[in-house]
Symmetry: C5
Subunit: 339 residues, 5 copies
Amino acid sequence: MTVTYSSKVANATFFGFHRLLLKWRGSIYKLLYREFIVFAVLYTAISLVYRLLLTGAQKRYFEKLSIYCDRYAEQIPVTFVLGFYVTLVVNRWWNQFVNLPWPDRLMFLISSSVHGRDQHGRLLRRTLMRYVNLTSLLIFRSVSTAVYKRFPTMDHVVEAGFMTADERKLFDHHKSPHLKYWVPFIWFGNLAAKARDEGRIRDSVDLQSLMTEMNRYRSWCSLLFGYDWVGIPLVYTQVVTLAVYTFFFACLIGRQFLDPTKGYAGHDLDLYIPIFTLLQFFFYAGWLKVAEQLINPFGEDDDDFETNWCIDRNLQVSLLAVDEMHMSLPKMKKDIYWD
Amino acid sequence: MTVTYSSKVANATFFGFHRLLLKWRGSIYKLLYREFIVFAVLYTAISLVYRLLLTGAQKRYFEKLSIYCDRYAEQIPVTFVLGFYVTLVVNRWWNQFVNLPWPDRLMFLISSSVHGRDQHGRLLRRTLMRYVNLTSLLIFRSVSTAVYKRFPTMDHVVEAGFMTADERKLFDHHKSPHLKYWVPFIWFGNLAAKARDEGRIRDSVDLQSLMTEMNRYRSWCSLLFGYDWVGIPLVYTQVVTLAVYTFFFACLIGRQFLDPTKGYAGHDLDLYIPIFTLLQFFFYAGWLKVAEQLINPFGEDDDDFETNWCIDRNLQVSLLAVDEMHMSLPKMKKDIYWD
Amino acid sequence: MTVTYSSKVANATFFGFHRLLLKWRGSIYKLLYREFIVFAVLYTAISLVYRLLLTGAQKRYFEKLSIYCDRYAEQIPVTFVLGFYVTLVVNRWWNQFVNLPWPDRLMFLISSSVHGRDQHGRLLRRTLMRYVNLTSLLIFRSVSTAVYKRFPTMDHVVEAGFMTADERKLFDHHKSPHLKYWVPFIWFGNLAAKARDEGRIRDSVDLQSLMTEMNRYRSWCSLLFGYDWVGIPLVYTQVVTLAVYTFFFACLIGRQFLDPTKGYAGHDLDLYIPIFTLLQFFFYAGWLKVAEQLINPFGEDDDDFETNWCIDRNLQVSLLAVDEMHMSLPKMKKDIYWD
Amino acid sequence: MTVTYSSKVANATFFGFHRLLLKWRGSIYKLLYREFIVFAVLYTAISLVYRLLLTGAQKRYFEKLSIYCDRYAEQIPVTFVLGFYVTLVVNRWWNQFVNLPWPDRLMFLISSSVHGRDQHGRLLRRTLMRYVNLTSLLIFRSVSTAVYKRFPTMDHVVEAGFMTADERKLFDHHKSPHLKYWVPFIWFGNLAAKARDEGRIRDSVDLQSLMTEMNRYRSWCSLLFGYDWVGIPLVYTQVVTLAVYTFFFACLIGRQFLDPTKGYAGHDLDLYIPIFTLLQFFFYAGWLKVAEQLINPFGEDDDDFETNWCIDRNLQVSLLAVDEMHMSLPKMKKDIYWD
Amino acid sequence: MTVTYSSKVANATFFGFHRLLLKWRGSIYKLLYREFIVFAVLYTAISLVYRLLLTGAQKRYFEKLSIYCDRYAEQIPVTFVLGFYVTLVVNRWWNQFVNLPWPDRLMFLISSSVHGRDQHGRLLRRTLMRYVNLTSLLIFRSVSTAVYKRFPTMDHVVEAGFMTADERKLFDHHKSPHLKYWVPFIWFGNLAAKARDEGRIRDSVDLQSLMTEMNRYRSWCSLLFGYDWVGIPLVYTQVVTLAVYTFFFACLIGRQFLDPTKGYAGHDLDLYIPIFTLLQFFFYAGWLKVAEQLINPFGEDDDDFETNWCIDRNLQVSLLAVDEMHMSLPKMKKDIYWD
């Protein structure tokens, strides 16, 4: 579920963001504590080996190695690589959110343009609406692991009421080697055309309005599918991951406290705990975690989109809107500013 | 309220921006003076301890610690992290402004397409307009703390004239576990469809024009809601905050003036007041404050959007436009360039 | 007036951009020479004091101070702060240009869709067009200092022929605590609706075409207004300005030529004129000037938009197009490629 | 074929991205192993020459050269150049993906707006759909090497059923020195206009809906063509390539391990294998490979778009949708949430 | 003419981009060889003076100067300034390409919506199409130097068949102090309105479709004009040019090889040819050349848009499409996948 904290930062106050540092759900600590422990244990192990096990000559060699590693750790351009990469990931993530398919626009149109309060009219509106929801469900199944778990087979889709048994049969009847998530849209178009013939939809202007809106919905669906299908090229992700992992590997050796008595530059002090290196671990690994969380926002992370909730909300709300609320109107009364 | 200073910088003049440095409202000083005092007090305290309380050996140890801190303070990539993060926040902030829902487009259409100067016509136009305003109010209530304070319950909404008692009843009558801010749009659609049946709206072209515009309004509303619901991932904000806070923590110790007689590199001079470190505090903490202010532009900061004002303006102006000004026209006269 | 130099750089030639370095109008020299003189005088003054007035011990102290300042000058992240900030300003500036309201789209539609070559038809078209121009004038008045100077009161607007006296009266008659720049658009809608009733506009398709186009025009107007109303947060501008000013303050002391005989690192040479520091002044102050010029493109800078010219052009051209040129057509003849 | 890995990173887990490091297809290793071997061999060769063949004086000279190269290697701004360039390439690549022409929007419209279940109606719909597919095929032929290999001549296009022999003749009959991929769109417009005359398309609203959608399709086609025709300026690509190649050339000499006994700064240790330089090779060369892969996404790389698959899918699906599925509808039944 | 090399980089291969380094047309070498020669000659001259002409004391002074220059050369933020600036230029350049006016969308509409195969019908369609081409020609004349050379006066426009003598007369007849490139659009609108009156265009839906498309075309034209009129502010270009030129000026002195026997840090080696400085010249000057080439893409550079070719193609193709191909249709036949 998305972690919403915007109400906590509505006003810029005294050390405004510090409160955010104390949250657990969706936080850097929850995401990173395991990696942090591994890093700290490895650092400690190396430190103990250096301090207790190595002989003098081995120590000297290790010290040279440490200085060598430190020098190159600073040359690894982690900041820039991460900056450019995370910007790319964040943009894609937000575009995916913006393109989540919501049936609201369609339900307003169907409610006002498909006429008839009798059973046939109700059936018409509910069926049109169901086709729309069905398509997005089919897309979500192939995009989101959480939705796929909930609807592993088409039987589950039928069971959940998104599809009738007849529709299932016709759906399976059309043979195609390709994905068929667009089939309910064809039904939508055909049903709308039929409704126009029957006069339930008044004229072509209303019909084309519906079709345009339906095509917009389809674009959202196919864009979501596109984001899932064509991700950031694997090479880019590997380059970034390699850069970060290498940096920390270099730090494990390069940021050890060396014997201050040897007088190596910048090694006058032995603090035992490399406080700034640990903090750097939090920055960089945390920054990479931002990317890991957002690169596929349809998983089950704390910050991922709640697709299953969306599916339920959309079906419930859209059926309510086109059926029970069709032509329901409060009595018009003068408002309090009249004259 | 938004701080507008663009008229002050209309022309690029001699040291043009220096005048901006002297403003208080919405300024860096007003936002930062508390943090600045805390920082300065801590710095002074550490400085006094070092100068007055520590023994010689402790001083030597502190000096090493200070040099160590200084070295790592420079390695913290505050500039880049802030650069990328603030760019992201500023983009989101501006998009939220651009998507504030304004009813103007709808009121022009309603005024010119919904006919009838009699009471029923007036009621129709005013009611349509009111539904539009009601929806944005419902959205603003869940997005903006300032609006929520003003309208803590639906009773306040009714009282303020955005909803009649009948509408309230029908609104509550529809049972849904989900937010119902879209209900007035259903009413809008139904009422418009009814008006077309009655001939108040002439044909489907006019009706669909209204519906399209209404859907555009809805998109603004839902986008605002989306920005509030799905914020910048908490991890990202924490990474940036940690980086900045760590930097200043490192500066508190690392930027102390050490005893010049000890001959540490870069410590030849004891100025007592670390002028450049204090300025750096202003840059970086100020830059972070930009993010704090903009990350939720619906709070009560000096620079936040004046949502309550918007709500009032929109209701007042839109009722005026569709009622009093409906079909009101100045007498056409030849302009002065005629022939 | 905008400084256009694109024809000068049509082709990439031998040292292609060097010619641009010799321009005066809109140039970095014209914008910066005053600041440059101030900087140079201050630098010289400090230099003279150091060289001629200070005693030996004071000189030593000043030298330490200079080295201290130089060290921190390099730590100020002027480049990045400016890079991110100027990118933001340039994007806003270009968006403002792109959203300047041009009535051309509307005038084509009005000329071809509002029929009748008689006096009433002419009056209709001219009045519709005038309302459009009037609205943008009202917006420009509140956005641009140059336009405000030209039309300080509504009387000037009437006098210039954008409004008739009757319209002025009706405009003032509508009481609202809010800006009323949208009123002429209501008139536009009402007048167009009336024209449709009279059959001057043939059907709803034509009418809605006009209304859509008018709403597009309104969006341009209100976006311009928005850019003026909600600027870049003051804090951001202050952060950038502080960074640049601090940098130059640090340079004034830190970039002095110290006595080469003292053997300070990097101070082997006394050139008297700090050529590279002066060039850095040009880069950074010039970069900031880019922001100063563009942050409000409606002033009277060399590079600002010529809004007064726009207003005149739009009125003249649009009246010409809908009146004199309405239904004027050259005789159709076969072109030279016929068969 | 595109390498899809998003399901592997659905959740941010313990060292979440490390699994990606072990993939082969589309990976950095597969793309770089040849370059890597060349680099390693050259490095080893130089190392062996230095260690075994050079005399003492030559060694001293080489050491100086190595230090000189190392110093300049660090000055080459590979990171930034690559950062800006790859961002540009990635944006273009994604826009090309988003603008791949899919006939789905058109097929919904044709299926619901072009009436008649008789043979003529079927022929009409199939032919319209075929024209659409034909155009995108013509575009793909000039954009994608893979498609060009499959359809080297127009005969192949006819053979594959995208064009009939009659169409081929008429197509060739129109003489033009310019590309003629737009010809099928003219046929599409003419055929649709004819269908309207015959009453197969009911009115202008339906017809213009089709034409608008067809023009959208055309824009996708021509944008793809534009991306192919006007690439990133050659100079930019050369600048980036030169920077990266120069960097590695400088590294070959500058990152050699020099004799530790000579006491050169930073050369205390002889590790034989320059582990960090090799890793840097992976970062930078890998980053450049991202650009190489994406700069033309219509080739045959692991990560390129599967255009041939698209062509087949589009023809198969769109004919199915407008013919077999035209007016096919499952029986409407009450859904399980009815009442 | 645009330099297209995308087919050369379709697949990411072994050292994929190295082949691009060997091209001449549109290459960095062709663009830079003159500047490079100047730079090399100056460097050599200074080198010779230092080595052969200067006395010992002068040499010492020059050496100090060289070290001073080198130190500041590194402080000039060429990389960032160029990175941000080139990104801006590239974005503008691409937007200009995307907004080149193509008449294809209009020609499809005219061919299918303006009826009549008789001479009057042909004349109507050809004239409408010609007006569209005429407008873009007028715009191109003021934007592109190449087009202006080809059509220096309106007589050339008439001669080339874009305008008839009658049209020329009427065009000149309308007096306006402003540019009149929009006049043919007024004719277009008037002619289309007339065609509707005559029944050649069937109804308002068709007419408004044409007008909308025409307005889109106009937006392209005026956006191109806008890009030419309001360029990147001169100050920005000057700042960047100054930064790059200063950098190279500093390099001329600062990157000289100093006498190795004097033991200056980093001056142990005399290579005579400053290989890395020359390469840096290629990076930075090449990067600036990218900007020079793209800042006005309507010149006659190797990489500029072929506007004259566009003009010819558009006229030829669009006349062909609306005249010869109007209502021309291949005989409909069953495709090979039928059943």
